[in-house]
């Protein structure tokens, strides 16, 4: 048997009020894809940050070859061949793609001048391998989240890696981009690199990984061979119970039309969009990234001006001029980018959650802090948010728990129309099914719910009707009885399934 590329032994890491890692051991073999799984806040990212030199462990050892090593910082980890692709993107938005990829090691000419030509050439050759639609000179801030992710991946390909860590790389990738990513991983694997792969998506885990290690509440639960286990078994190890995946099939009465959109257009982003949502109904929006779904949501939330068309709330035509206006009319939007749009990372959990209603939570001239804490507690319990308390900075929460704060923030507004854009991005399987159930329950209680998602199982699971979009247009609207995976895929790729159908 060959030696592992690296071994972690009894790693312990505590943060104030949280024991994030409690004696975790595991090892990665050369040429294997090793999955790391666990609920939100189980300690996966923290473990990888210890390995990547970002956190120093309080106890335990990292062993490479036969010797324990100390990862004093990210650069040192990189020098030792550990490449880390982060869950939360860490790119310099103002710089070009090439500069981001080679940051700190730009090719030089005489007198220390940057060799731009060589830089662009090298970068483009890597980008070509990744098959992406942008080039070396593009400003990173102009790229979509998915493409920024690809830049992070490109960065990993520049070093001579022994181990590559992917922390939820697919959370914001499209299916096509995923295929490219998996090819890249296969190449790395073939060249003997050890790969650590963190994801909440079972189908990926079972498709590309060789072994699975599981963490629960910072404790190591064991390692299994992927080929010899099942989704149920892994879930059981992760959450300590069986998952209830049944759909809340209660057939409640649909109410009146809460939101109707007629012939709405917005420049080149989308055109001639018409649909309606009734109270008690979940309307799914499915399509590729860039199909215009997010832009429609932003228009309904007062963030964009439509160029033509009508929006009717409860049958009355309205002009929604700002998010404040949308909120006042009972519309909530859970935005797709939690770090950029959803949260103030430096603020505590409670303050983030009550932010949209600060003006309504008053006792005299002051904030009613007791009421705020009550709201926070209610949604912490409802959504199972793992945090030592409301005073914790949101930036210190795990990725999935951050997402739950955003969801709680908008649920607590008790909207008439709830729009959620990629609601379960980065959320573990247990919580995901909880959130799906919650969305169904909300509909049953009479809310009108719009779910935008790039995950087909998700849309199929939660929606009563599904709108398929392609390139800014609605191709077809399916009912949950008539929809099939194939017809949906056809519709969103612009093939067949045309509007008249």
């Amino acid at each position: 048997m060959t030696d592992p590329v690296l071994r972690l032994e009894n790693i312990v890491k505590t943060f104030p009020g949280v024991r994030a890692l409690d004696g975790v051991s595991f090892s990665v073999m050369p040429g294997e894809v090793h999955a790391l799984m666990g609920e939100n806040g189980a300690g996966k990212s923290t473990l990888m940050k210890v390995l990547g030199g970002i956190h120093q462990p309080d106890g335990g050892a990292i062993v490479m070859g036969d010797t324990p090593v100390v990862m004093a910082g990210p650069l040192e980890a990189k020098a030792k061949g550990i490449v880390f692709i982060h869950q939360e993107l860490s790119l310099a938005e103002e710089l070009s793609v090439a500069e981001n990829i080679y940051l700190g090691e730009l090719p030089r000419k005489s007198f220390g001048r940057v060799d731009w030509a060589r830089l662009a050439e090298r970068t483009n050759s890597i980008l070509k391998k990744l098959n992406v639609g942008f080039d070396a000179r593009t400003r990173v801030g102009d790229l979509s989240i998915a493409n920024q992710q690809m830049v992070e991946i490109a960065r990993a390909l520049t070093v001579d890696a022994k181990a590559v860590i992917f922390d939820e790389p697919t959370a914001s990738l499209t299916d096509a981009e995923k295929v490219v990513l998996f090819d890249v991983i296969a190449d790395l694997k073939a060249s003997g690199v050890g790969i650590i792969y963190i994801s909440h998506r079972m189908e990926e885990i079972f498709k590309i990984t060789d072994r699975i290690s599981i963490l629960r509440d910072g404790q190591y639960q064991g390692t299994v061979n992927t080929a010899e286990t099942t989704e149920e078994a892994v879930t059981q190890m992760m959450i300590g119970r069986k998952l209830d995946l049944s759909r809340n099939a209660s057939h409640h009465e649909l109410g009146n039309v809460a939101l109707q959109v007629r012939g709405l257009s917005c420049g080149k982003l989308y055109s001639d969009v018409s649909f309606e949502v009734r109270r008690g109904e979940v309307l799914g929006f499915y399509g590729l990234v860039g199909a215009g779904r997010t832009e429609i949501a932003e228009t309904l939330f007062g963030l964009r001006d439509p160029s033509s068309g009508q929006i009717l709330l409860d049958g009355e035509e309205v002009r929604i001029s700002s998010p404040a206006d949308a909120i006042a009319r009972g519309i909530s939007l859970v935005p797709e980018d939690r770090k950029g749009q959803g949260l103030v990372l430096g603020m505590n959990c409670r303050d983030n959650m009550t932010l949209p209603q600060v003006d309504d939570l008053k006792a005299g001239p002051f904030m009613a802090e007791g009421a705020e804490v009550a709201i926070f507690d209610q949604y912490r319990d409802k959504l199972d948010i793992r945090t030592p308390g409301w005073k914790q900075r949101v930036g210190n929460l795990s990725g999935g728990n951050q997402q739950k704060i955003v969801i709680g923030k908008w649920l607590s507004m008790h909207p008439n129309v709830l729009i959620v854009d990629e609601p379960t991005r980065g959320i573990d399987v247990g919580s995901k099914s909880e959130i799906h159930k919650l969305l169904r329950d909300l509909a049953a209680q009479g809310y009108a719910v719009i779910v935008i998602s790039s995950e087909m199982p998700e849309v199929l699971h939660v929606s009563d009707r599904i709108v398929a979009m392609y390139s800014g247009r609605i191709m077809r609207t399916f009912t949950s009885e008539e929809v099939t995976e194939d017809s949906l895929i056809q519709a969103i790729s612009g093939l067949g399934g045309d509007k008249a159908a």
Binding site: L303, G346, P356, M367
Partner: protein, 339 residues
């Protein structure tokens, strides 16, 4: 693991953590200002016994009141993620205007008139930075110069003096005392309490933190970003007007350049207090601490016989130190080869 053995291992880890170099660095970085201040206070008390007498302490606080009042307003602006470099020159304007109007319409009308004019300047800056989204550094640096020009135009370049210095009640704001405490200190304390509550406890204060912490997320939460920034500049202008009032009332006559350079001292106090220039953090209480630290350092240097103008250099050194410790605290170490 049993409870007892867990406690024992916790303790061991606790001790290891306290002793580790990294932790010491992190503590130094986070509490560096307070530690440096404590060392400074002890050294100066040893060097000059007069330093910590009640009289001297009171005089430090009184002479810090003007800077302090302005720093309260600038705290709002900085937390909202912007800068205000115009406060010094705006204070000169307020001082000159109120002195001029004092003789023309009497103090009772002069004071509100001066406040109105200063607030107009604040509103103008707030409009440019808040609604037009112009860079606050450029806007307020420009206003520093523009308002200076405005003041000189207003005064014709002359010093401004009150004709009847003995016969006016106007002097109470700068020279009066109540219950044995100088009025400027009372104004500073009252304003600090009021604005401290506004920032920490009201919906508006929450919005200021949100806008400065992540403007996009604030917008997505329905918070009027432009109006919030605008209001911060109005608050800053109101504080500047109050500072101008104290200054005018203390001297009853003034040059056009009375506030020159104060913007840096104000900013130094705010940063010393720990507000981040990136926005989203800081408190009124910490700013007050920053003001006092700055006041004591300047006073201490005078007491040990350094020339008045040395303090300009010292102020600069303090700003650099404060900014350095600010980023060091974020990184958790004093020095790091990578950003």
């Amino acid at each position: 693991m049993s409870d007892a053995s867990r406690n024992a291992s916790d303790l061991r880890e606790g001790i290891m953590a306290t002793l580790s170099r990294q932790q010491v660095g992190a503590i130094l970085a986070r509490q560096g200002i307070l530690i440096a201040f404590a060392v400074f206070m002890i050294a100066f008390t040893l060097a000059n016994p007069k330093f910590l007498t009640p009289d001297n302490v009171l005089s430090v606080v009184r002479s810090s009141a003007i800077i302090g009042v302005m720093a309260l307003g600038v705290t709002f602006v900085v937390i909202s993620g912007n800068l205000d470099l115009s406060v010094g020159s705006m204070m000169s304007f307020s001082t000159i205007v109120v002195l001029d109007l004092h003789d023309k319409m009497g103090p009772l009308l002069a004071i509100p008139a001066m406040f109105a004019m200063t607030l107009c300047l604040g509103a103008f800056i707030g409009f440019l930075v808040g609604y037009l989204r112009l860079n606050s550094l450029i806007v307020t640096l420009g206003m520093l110069s523009a308002i200076h020009g405005l003041t000189l135009t207003y005064s014709g370049g002359q010093n401004m003096d009150i004709a009847d210095k003995e016969g006016t009640w106007f002097s109470i704001f700068g020279q009066g005392t109540a219950l044995g405490i100088p009025v400027p200190i009372l104004i500073f304390v009252a304003l600090a309490a009021l604005l401290g509550l506004a920032l920490a406890k009201t919906p508006f204060g929450r919005k200021v933190y949100a806008v400065g912490g992540n403007g996009t997320a604030a917008t997505f939460s329905g918070i009027p970003r432009a109006r919030t920034v605008f209001t911060c500049y109005l608050i800053s202008a109101a504080c500047v007007a109050t500072a101008g009032l104290i200054q005018a009332s203390r001297s009853l006559g003034s040059q056009n350049t009375v506030g020159q350079g104060l913007e840096l001292e104000v900013l130094a106090a705010v940063i010393l207090g720990g507000a981040s220039l990136l926005g989203g953090s800081g408190t009124i209480f910490k700013t007050v601490i920053g003001v006092l630290i700055l006041g004591f350092i300047q006073n201490g240097l005078l007491l040990v016989g350094l020339q008045f103008y040395v303090q300009f250099v010292v102020t600069w050194v303090i700003i650099i130190l404060a900014v350095w410790l600010d980023i060091a605290a974020k990184r958790g170490k004093l020095w790091s080869p990578i950003a």
